[in-house]
């Protein structure tokens, strides 16, 4: 494929899948600028190899992996500057049947998600937002299936514990 063919092919892919990739990147980074940068960087880096990436069968997984790897490095580097955990005290025991409580709980979970380690967060987004199976997540993150299960389990345990801790803080004298 010549350069024009590659450009047209990549453009067509972005038209169909670019939005989903941006949403994935945003849920991973919780930052619109970082998400846009990560997606653009991943696509620009993929351009020279696009034909081969497509031939491998799953460009979306390749690009998500690029976004995760770039974000994981950046996230770890700037860890000390991030303070992503807001006060979610008192939300664990609410009744999620109440729409207001449900939204409050979702907001709390969103804030807590932002504090998860990058790869755990990626696994959570792939499972609970994109609905991917364990083998699909494993292929995307270059993990074993057992590692995917372990990462998701740890992430959910962290979220539960954090909610419960804050509930305890509120009910303590």
């Amino acid at each position: 494929m010549d350069g024009h063919g590659t450009a047209a092919d990549l453009e067509a892919w972005i038209d169909v899948h670019g939005g989903a990739l941006l949403r994935f990147a945003y849920l991973l980074t919780a930052d619109r600028d970082r998400a846009a940068d990560a997606v653009q960087d991943a696509l620009v880096a993929a351009y020279p190899r696009w034909e081969r990436i497509v031939a491998a069968g799953d460009p979306g997984a390749y690009l998500r992996r690029s976004v995760v790897n770039a974000h994981t490095s950046r996230w770890r580097r700037s860890l000390r500057r991030e303070q992503p955990v807001a006060d979610v005290a008192g939300l664990a025991g609410r009744h999620v049947d109440d729409p207001a409580d449900r939204i409050a709980t979702e907001d709390a979970l969103w804030l807590l998600c932002r504090a998860l380690p990058g790869r755990q967060r990626a696994a959570v987004v792939l499972r609970y937002y994109e609905g991917r199976s364990d083998p699909e997540i494993a292929a995307t993150l270059d993990y074993s299936v057992s590692t995917v299960r372990s990462q998701i389990h740890r992430a959910l345990a962290t979220l539960r514990t954090r909610l419960a801790d804050d509930e305890e803080e509120v009910s303590s004298p």
């Binding site: 350069g3 919780a30 696509l43 620009v44 907001d107 539960r160």
Partner: protein
């Protein structure tokens, strides 16, 4: 999945779906991406003109050779004093005099060295994070008569200037999470060296990009090309990377080296004539997350009219060997010896690989 997991799954999905709506819009994304790729192509298109300019622009030898090889735009690169070279580590680069060696013992300076190693004091040396002997020396730095100027890269540290005896000063600066420390009694040299500190790129890093997909996981294979003969190879960039998920801080490029002439031929011969196959591996010796090891080396073999990547994996219990995208080969003693020169010498070898060096 436990009952607890299921109870949190629904609100979690709701949270992610709701906040996904805050993501940037995709309008214009394709145009922005393709515009950036065309800028890249244009920069490469300057090759012929740039090669002429190179003759009068003073750059480090490696940068000159690379720009000629790769068609980079040398005018955009900073100029080092003549006789200096670039050293790169995890996305930053700094210039040092070419007479400086490699390997800094640091606080373990008094530890005994094997016979024949570093019997003379060098004008200076560059050090990267590595295991050091647990030796309690009488002072942080050697006595004056044994003292060398040292530049070290680290992933943590304290920015500032610390004074020692007889005018010797240790200064640390930080850029993009990398801490660069210079120990010297020469105020001008200290200022010049640390003044060159800047974000690294492929030209400065002797043909090694600060990031590379080979460092991102175990599935990467180079793009296959037509077979290269060792005698066709004119130069080799040797790029040592941390595997980004095993050693996670910052860009994974740990060190870069540029080989030409006989050294390039030796490297190319070792890597292109090794027996087809894989290994040596020792799969029972590692936890699964470390099975491919924490680092690898990427070779860029350059001939007159083309280049070829070769991945060399040596630090894990599985997946050891080389891969040029077409043929996988086993590691050999010749190859491991050809990879020994610093600063790109392997920082970790499995026992079964180290045995090749016997």
């Amino acid at each position: 999945m436990t009952d607890h997991d299921e109870r949190i799954a629904e609100p979690l999905t709701g949270a992610l779906r709701r906040h996904a709506g805050e993501a940037p819009a995709a309008e214009g994304l394709a145009e922005r991406v393709l515009a950036r790729t065309s800028i890249r192509r244009t920069r490469r298109g300057f090759a012929a003109v740039a090669a002429v300019v190179l003759a009068v622009v003073v750059l480090s030898l490696g940068a000159v050779l690379l720009a000629q090889d790769r068609g980079g735009d040398p005018v955009s690169e900073p100029v080092l004093p003549q006789g200096w070279r670039w050293e790169s580590y995890r996305g930053v680069a700094v210039g040092v005099p070419s007479t400086w060696g490699y390997g800094v013992p640091g606080p373990a300076w008094c530890a005994a060295l094997p016979d024949g190693e570093r019997n003379t004091t060098r004008p200076g040396a560059v050090g990267r994070p590595a295991a050091v002997p647990a030796v309690g020396c009488p002072s942080e730095y050697p006595p004056l008569a044994e003292r060398e100027q040292w530049l070290t890269f680290a992933d943590s540290g304290d920015v500032g200037i610390r004074e020692f005896d007889r005018g010797w000063v240790e200064e640390t600066r930080e850029l993009d999470g990398v801490f660069v420390t210079l120990f010297s009694a020469d105020v001008d040299l200290r200022s010049t060296v640390l003044g060159t500190l800047r974000p690294g790129n492929e030209e400065i890093a002797l043909g090694c990009g600060p990031m590379h997909p080979a460092a991102e996981g175990r599935t990467y294979r180079p793009e296959a090309g037509a077979p290269l003969a060792p005698e066709d190879v004119r130069s080799v960039s040797v790029c040592r990377y941390a595997r980004s998920d095993a050693v996670p801080d910052g860009p994974p490029l740990l060190a870069a080296r540029f080989a030409s002439g006989d050294e390039a031929l030796r490297l190319a011969s070792a890597v292109l004539t090794a027996p087809e196959g894989a290994g040596p591996d020792d799969p029972a010796n590692c936890a699964p997350e470390y099975d491919y090891g924490p680092e690898l080396i990427l070779l860029h073999l350059r001939a007159e009219d083309r280049s070829q990547e070769v991945v060399v994996r040596y630090a894990g219990c599985e997946g050891n060997g080389t891969d040029d995208g077409t043929i996988r080969r086993a590691l050999t003693g010749d190859l491991m010896r050809a990879l020994e020169p610093p600063p790109t010498n392997p920082g970790q070898l499995q026992v079964v690989v180290a045995q090749l060096l016997r």
